[in-house]
Symmetry: C2
Subunit: 423 residues, 2 copies
């Protein structure tokens, strides 16, 4: 008997039929004898609808009240799913985030989970019930409802799995798992059976959309095996877990899912290729080459809450050099306004930008022990006539900024270079 | 400075514009220096919509989960109203029923309030905030959300006013107050300035729809002045209060609303006329005239949760008599099924029913000291050729069952008999 946390997103509970499907799926799992905790998001577009309601009342909704409003979405889902299960003859109980013992910090609308005291969840599990927990929400130190922001329901599921020492946290999605690349761009992309937390973190940072980094970080910290799988089929998806499966955590001495166990003990050199189009390149030209300049530029951007990704600095010439870096396109306008002030102050020549760029990344923990991975990528891209604007590397990632119209081609070339289509 | 509890129903918060109107109204009150607690219902049809959602998932929703679901409606209202007020520059805070310290019993979907510990409400009032409380809900002994059933938001408002020792509880409605009769039926009906708890209780029991008896009972018990007034105008409505205004409760020595104070110290003989069409008359004919028969008949109906209103028993003839009584039309079918079993067992002759009846009642605490009120009514109805099927009287009420097609005429005659159109 395992303990499993199953998480279903908003599209899985968007209407009565889908809720019934989720109920059937959850009940089948319980029927196998597993203890089951379910985490659900708000139904379909309900969160967006509630935000619209708030905007009708005020252009600048108070954050505490916004959380009071938004938290109702998940509450609707847990009640509907719980009554659907009970009506089919299995015992279930719904719990709001606060009732489930999920505590959050003061940051309304994007709170962090501070601790989980799953007393009520454990009590209800002991009664043999399926426990349905509202994702995306917790109780803050002021005893107010706080919501957890983007990816909040995944976070609830993984953190709850950690607190309960669950055997696995299953994230049900509209894709079958983690792919070596986006199949819409790289048709020969392949679903991977397993991937390490670190590689998954890099993929998320490189633009893969399936899960947000914060949930994977929690999974890594508490070694929660995360199974990303389809809500439409029963086949296995992708297990996000520790690199070395031989020392893999196995709570209460139970065996992990067999197909995962047999997935091999060593991860491929490269796990996947990711594309991030939300990139813009900014160049500050003829900046004085003296200490403190970089601090001024990036300090000003940080003060404006603008995340800077890749940075390159040209070799100095005649006392000046160029600084180029990437920001997300959403931030570009704001970044340019800040940089114009910085330019004037530093007496730099110009600020220019290019939004027609994209970032292509290869990720894989195997790179650590395989030198020459980056060189292979650069060589393949060069052979295809694709120019690389900027490069950044980490122990398990190589990222290249290229012209946007070359990005998809670059992805396919990278995928082929490392034969990701083959298991 | 007074402390006022203002209650707004679902139609008052049905859309953004109406919520803004409520916000303005509440703020105007706070601006006068009063401490303000607001109780709101779910927006417009939201409760009905949520019930529909539940019915889509299961034909027989679990009561606990139904409450988990329905409680979201008021939570949406309090959040929207609170953010609307804050955006207009006054400080406000929303509290769910549980957060406001409203405790309920175990009866999901129609729970009773067991106690109120308004610690959070008082704390927020002390900060100068307008406190917005979700009506219709409380926390049960299992720390689950329970809803209070029909009229639940009124009940929250009156009970909260009692717990806070508020100077007045204002119930905002789509009518201007309590009328001597339904103006749609009796055009000369007049709004009364004040009415006693007892008379209002009888009116509610006699079919007046404005407020439910349970809220008035709580108001009476804790002597909370209840001001029923229009949500569209500023004029005074009807104050429901103790009969003797000279000893009227006036918290903290503050003066009551002037127009109420000047409303006179003695209530009229008759306060109002009410009509209840939801009536059916049932007759069990030729029942053996022996002890225990009535107990068997009404015991069986009580076991079926059927409320019986008026009862008459004919004089015995040859060892048998007839028993007639009224039930609500909604219960008629169920009542007839039960009575058929009772009839067979008692060997009574027949069970017959008549749904084309209605109950017309006159209510007023002044009747106590004015004998002959009932006689005047009977005489007027007789003069108009209206036959009375059944009669029941209490110290402050006379109710007559008449043919439904005579009911409206009977109302107008009663209204005229006691010159209710004149102040």
């Amino acid at each position: 008997m395992s303990l499993v946390v199953m998480k279903f997103g908003g599209s899985s509970v968007a209407d009565a039929d889908r809720i019934k499907n989720v109920a059937n799926r959850v009940m089948a799992r319980r029927h196998r004898g597993d203890k089951v905790v379910v985490v659900v998001s708000a139904p379909g577009d309900m969160t967006d609808d509630l935000i619209e309601l708030a905007k009708g009342v005020t252009s600048d909704p108070d954050a505490r009240e916004m959380d009071m409003l938004l938290a109702t979405g998940e509450q609707v889902s847990i009640a509907l799913l719980s009554m659907a299960i009970k009506n089919r003859g299995m015992d279930a109980v719904s719990l709001t985030g606060p009732q489930a013992g999920i505590y959050a910090d003061w940051t309304h609308t994007k709170a962090r989970i501070t601790k989980i005291r799953p007393v009520a969840v454990q009590r209800e599990l002991k009664k043999g019930r399926i426990v349905i927990v509202a994702g995306f929400q917790g109780l803050n130190p002021g005893r107010d409802i706080a919501t957890l922001g983007r990816g909040g329901s995944d976070l609830t599921a993984v953190a709850l799995a950690a607190a309960l020492k669950a055997d696995v946290c299953e994230i049900f999605t509209d894709v079958k798992g983690i792919y070596t690349a986006d199949p819409r761009i790289v048709p020969e992309a392949r679903k991977v059976d397993r991937i390490s937390y670190d590689a998954m973190l890099e993929l998320a940072g490189a633009g893969a959309q399936v899960m947000q980094a914060r949930s994977i970080e929690v999974g890594k910290k508490y070694e929660v095996p995360i199974h990303v799988r389809s809500s439409f089929t029963d086949e296995n998806g992708t297990m996000i877990m520790r690199e070395d499966s031989s020392t893999m955590r196995s709570t209460k001495g139970k065996k992990m899912n067999d197909s995962i166990r047999n997935g091999g003990t060593e991860e491929a050199v490269v796990s996947g290729v990711a594309l991030d189009r939300n990139q813009a390149k900014v160049t500050l030209a003829d900046v004085p080459d003296r200490p403190g300049v970089a601090a001024e530029v990036f300090g000003a951007l940080a003060d404006g809450a603008i995340n800077v990704d890749m940075i390159i600095q040209s070799a100095p010439r005649e006392g000046v050099n160029d600084i180029s870096f990437t920001v997300s396109r959403d931030d570009l306008k704001k970044a340019l306004a800040i940089l114009e002030r910085v330019r004037a102050h530093l007496k730099a020549r110009s600020v220019t930008s290019d939004s027609a760029v994209a970032k292509v990344s290869i990720v894989g923990v195997g790179m650590r022990s395989h030198p020459g991975v980056a060189a292979s990528l650069f060589k393949s891209l060069a052979s295809a006539g694709i120019n690389i604007d900027m490069i950044s590397t980490s122990e398990i990632k190589v990222a290249c900024v290229v012209k946007e119209n070359n990005a998809e081609k670059a992805m396919r070339i990278a995928h082929k270079t490392f034969t990701l289509e083959k298991k």
